[in-house]
Symmetry: C3
Subunit: 494 residues, 3 copies
């Protein structure tokens, strides 16, 4: 990566206290250049396959970034003012992208203290070589510089993929995806670099508007009739195997709660049949979705796909925003989650099975020390994902280590997972995570609770080794026979 231009300080986001900073810098230097393992993200495989250009600065940085848009909206701009296109196709919205960029630059102060500020500084300075701070005065010049860069081949996604040193990147894909883009990438030798992830939320909530269409799409893609719950399960299973064949490591589940209570086959069939012909209420939909988490775990035991669970967000908190602009527009608000009771059915059934792996994410920090760390510190199938969404921030990541490590250790966590739809921010996010983990480890060294060698080894594991091992598809031949369990030491070291 290029030398630091602008004013990015080499010690940014490392501890301020000199003793710890010196140690943290040494730890950070041992991980700064490691390849990026990006096991959970929202980049479109087709975009990579086609090696598309990123568009102009507003298209790259602002319009699709719900972090940025929501902050500007929180201070009085409307989505339309920032170029977000209303769904109705009728209403007007700002199409002057230079003006949108200017609005962002003029409001640079709003991002003080936020991770967006850190990421943007990193991207502007280190990815694009911008030497000025965004402001009303500099907005146009920066826009021009960015536009010029974005027009060159060096700023196409595949060039950045190499420049960013991304070893592997997972996409997120609907069950009815034909995976054709992944196949095309594989044909070009990119099959180990870009892998799909099976994300079935759309077919798991029968109370939601698009459910019937999603089930029909699933049937169509699978080439099977889905007439009842049994044929639905078979189709899900078959699509999972198609994903496995396409290189998938994992499934991903974004549920409202962590409930995993299974239904009897009869109850599941009854709900399924009812939903095929008419509406079901939200509680029924949630019960079916909980059952499908349980079923997904059962399938993971059979096909080895690592299960990811992201519960606890009330999507589309504002009806007006959802109606006008659709989902993912910055108005998703977290809720408390009950992991201890919610996960008990699933963990009781599969939690000790060596063929099973589940990675848990949360946006509710109160469960770190109370529920998640004790669960991950006991069940061998459980790993804790990186701090998610709003918590993917300097303080958020530091608190995760503080609240989780003492009970779960480092080796029951997944290492860093970026979960972004903003490709150009990937190195910034990984860099920040490596700095924060280096700072946390430096604190342990400075307090004489860890040696520097141990801290450095741990930092490498968190940045690189653990994401690879946590997301390695499980060996389903392991089958519970004790002799076939890899020794923990091996697994942790891989």
């Amino acid at each position: 990566m290029a030398k630091t231009p602008w004013k990015l300080h080499p010690d940014r986001a490392l501890p301020a206290e000199p003793t710890q900073r010196t140690i943290a810098r040494e730890i950070y230097e041992s991980v700064a250049a490691l390849p990026i393992v990006s096991m959970h993200g929202h980049i479109d495989a087709g975009f990579i396959r086609r090696n598309d250009a990123f568009g102009d600065p507003a298209e790259l940085f602002i319009i699709p970034d719900h972090y940025l848009v929501r902050m500007l909206v929180s201070q009085g701009y409307r989505h339309e003012d920032l170029g977000v296109r209303p769904l109705d196709g009728d209403s007007s919205y700002e199409t002057d992208h230079r003006l949108i960029w200017r609005r962002f630059c003029e409001n640079w102060k709003l991002f003080r203290g936020t991770p967006t500020r850190y990421w943007m500084e990193h991207e502007l300075a280190l990815v694009f070589g911008i030497t000025d701070e965004p402001s009303a005065a500099t907005a146009d010049a920066i826009y021009d510089q960015l536009s010029a860069a974005l027009a060159t081949p060096e700023y196409r996604i595949r060039s950045l993929f190499d420049r960013f040193n991304i070893e592997i990147l997972s996409t997120t894909d609907a069950p009815d995806s034909d995976l054709a883009e992944h196949a095309a990438l594989a044909a070009e030798g990119w099959g180990e670099r870009v892998v799909p992830t099976f994300r079935p939320d759309g077919i798991f909530y029968p109370d939601r508007a698009g459910w019937r269409a999603a089930v029909r799409a699933l049937a169509a893609r699978n080439g099977s009739d889905i007439t009842d719950y049994a044929s639905f399960l078979v189709a899900v299973q078959e699509r999972r195997l198609a994903f496995v064949a396409a290189g998938a490591r994992a499934t991903d589940h974004g549920h409202l709660t962590a409930d995993t209570t299974p239904l009897s086959a009869a109850d599941a069939q009854r709900i399924f049949a009812q939903a095929l012909v008419g509406p079901v209420d939200a509680a029924t939909g949630e019960a079916f979705a909980a059952n499908m988490l349980f079923e997904s775990a059962r399938m993971s035991v059979e096909d080895g796909l690592v299960m990811q669970l992201h519960p606890g967000v009330q999507r589309d908190h504002s009806d007006a925003i959802a109606t006008a602009f659709g989902p993912d527009n910055g108005f998703d608000i977290p809720l408390p989650v009950d992991y201890t009771r919610g996960l008990q059915p699933l963990l009781n059934a599969f939690g000790l099975d060596p063929r099973f792996r589940i990675i848990l994410f949360t946006i509710d920090e109160t469960v770190y020390s109370r529920e998640l760390a004790p669960i991950a510190g006991a069940y061998p199938s459980v790993r804790l994902g990186a701090p998610w969404w709003f918590l993917d921030s300097p303080g958020g990541m530091a608190r995760f280590r503080e609240l989780v490590t003492e009970t779960a250790g480092f080796y029951n966590t997944s290492g860093f997972v970026d979960d972004t739809r903003a490709f150009a921010s990937i190195p910034a996010r990984h860099d920040l995570a490596r700095r924060i983990d280096a700072g946390y480890l430096a604190g342990l060294v400075a307090e004489h609770r860890l040696t520097l060698d141990e801290a450095t080894e741990t930092a490498v594991d968190l940045a690189y080794t653990l994401p690879l091992t946590a997301y390695a598809r499980r060996d389903t031949a392991a089958a519970g026979a004790a002799a076939t369990i890899p020794a923990p030491g091996e697994r942790a070291a891989l």
Copy 2:
């Protein structure tokens, strides 16, 4: 403010680490002398108008301070021992105020590590020039010194108002207040310095003992008959307008929960009619109160009063204390609050309206990162109030910034709000807040995440600009037309 006597260290409550302390001191120095904006408090307007004396040291510092009383009670004193008068008028209680003062001084160690300790040190040393630490040995001498000072005109409230450099102070007033004291103050030219706040809790909970009397008082003051829900709403609206005319910026709502679900007019009328003639149960009362939060927001859109919400405290946890001494005696205990679901009806209806402003307070820290910061970081109407009550403390304020800033930034917070009934503690509280914010900002500078200039500008905004702008009565002509929304940059800068 006078030079530091006693042992108050100029760097008290700034970060211990030398790099950060140096930066923090520089930031603090740029805000230390700013005027005090005190937009939420419990000082009596009549007290200011009459320019009353504060009484003796026990009357000023101990008997009315529920922080102090509860701590001494928690270690074995009874309220009576501390001069709190039982409601029955019969029971005896300590009337020797010198003895009460001595009890406090003898137990000075109990306050170690508490904000009471910080405030008292500041008040004794900087407001009263006391040079000794409270103890059994010094109690009497300090009592005499304080008594002598309190007998002078310099220690009347208006002199202190000037000396404390209070630019504006909001009182808290019942809907049936005649606002005569505010009018008298205005006639003396103090109308911009002392403004009322509309606090209607007493008329919003029809299950509570005093409700019918409060509604009657409202009708009497408004000069209108209140015979049903419709005439009740009209009276509320008219009193709000009277408050607006008297200079009010805001309303204040201290509810048990954050529920804002509106009732149908028929249901509201049914409950109202029932409550006029007989008891309603707590759940019904809570449903009516939730409806009135919704109605209050609707009224705010019309009259521009900023809405403040303080939910989540179980008042009068001890029946014995409540029965013997009445409310506000240190036995109010917080509860978890559900802001995400509770506020959804209100925010769905008014949250995007540029005429609306709501400031949210909490005493439940678990919602900072999970609910409040995401809500304030999206809805343009929402600002987060300062850490409230028990959390108005060095650690409480630091955690607020740590848990809120990364998602909501600084500019979706209200700046400091002191919420005190102890007039002499106002400068101490603002001073402490300025130190803690300076320390937090210094950490960002030391970690190279903010420049010193940015940090200093932010500190000034938090101490002075943001409280003024957050509590500015809304321009109700803004009416939702995009063109009339002030640009966020302007708004943030005032």
Copy 3:
């Protein structure tokens, strides 16, 4: 205690920042050698009376330690692999203790950042004089060194009792315990050093499997018939008095929730009668248990036993582990607890009574600032116990002070309570607590919020004075007459 061998740094677990470390070291030095007051633990009195040997290293350190076992299980070992004997008596399990020890040493890295690491380092280095770090290479040599030491009289429990400078240790005992071991210890002059604690959970949950047997055992031990709720209460009362006679200071209650709602005598009798003859459901069992907390408080007012409450853990989260190995095998997962509403019935009845004392523990950190500190900062009967279980860790203890002190002060906490079944870890745990409290106090000194003298006095109180006073059996003659309440100053100073 011996000079530090190995690599234990004298400043371990003190703050990294030099200013604070210097102060912390000075504070720590004033408490490091204080006697150990261990008021809550799980050491068997018979083990002490017989002065048993501890067995081999795996028997001492691994097999019975659910912290250690769960961490190794979380990375793929089975309980059997670690020598935990299955209940069925049939299944095989590892009996090669040297191999078990090796498995632990090979996986030393898993414990990085955990309190287990701190405790083990302290025990190996300072108790046993081991000079090598555990690893695959050193496992056998350490095993031999430990075995040799454990065979000597110096490593019998009574020698270690003296060497550890344990002034008093509480055991935990079932209501039907004959207390014969305590009597025998008393006969040897150890009556003030080893005292029993009354732990009646087994007879409070009538929905649980062993309840009828436990009630029968209670009746048998008490020599009374238990035919109904009334005779049950009498038997409980009488056993408590037997514990008082044997030197008990306290009772201990490990409940699922903090509910303390009393039942009418008729309801309690109805449940009791039903449970004697058949099953009751979990909700009924929980209601009865809540009632028994209320009754226990009433009894404490009469006999002066300090009440301890540890709620909020879902025991035996994994059915498979519970079925195979029984309770206390690392699969207990915390839950949120509602103290504010749960404790209200009990505190309303007894919370202001000077004859009553309750010590509250939590494993749910979210209640520290929201519920526990406000409760302890008001009710004179309440003290807050030390951070419990997973939270008995450097960060856990630091967060306790940060979140509790500003509202409750230091003197409404119990000082350190170790709650361990691992005797050899007692000094490590107390040493760590003393370091963390020294660090917290040093921060207050460095921020000029406390003088060094005050901090040092507070550290001594937290390490030594407060556990003794918090667990002193209450004077039941105090009887609520104000004149007989000891002045708080006296009580705090004792």
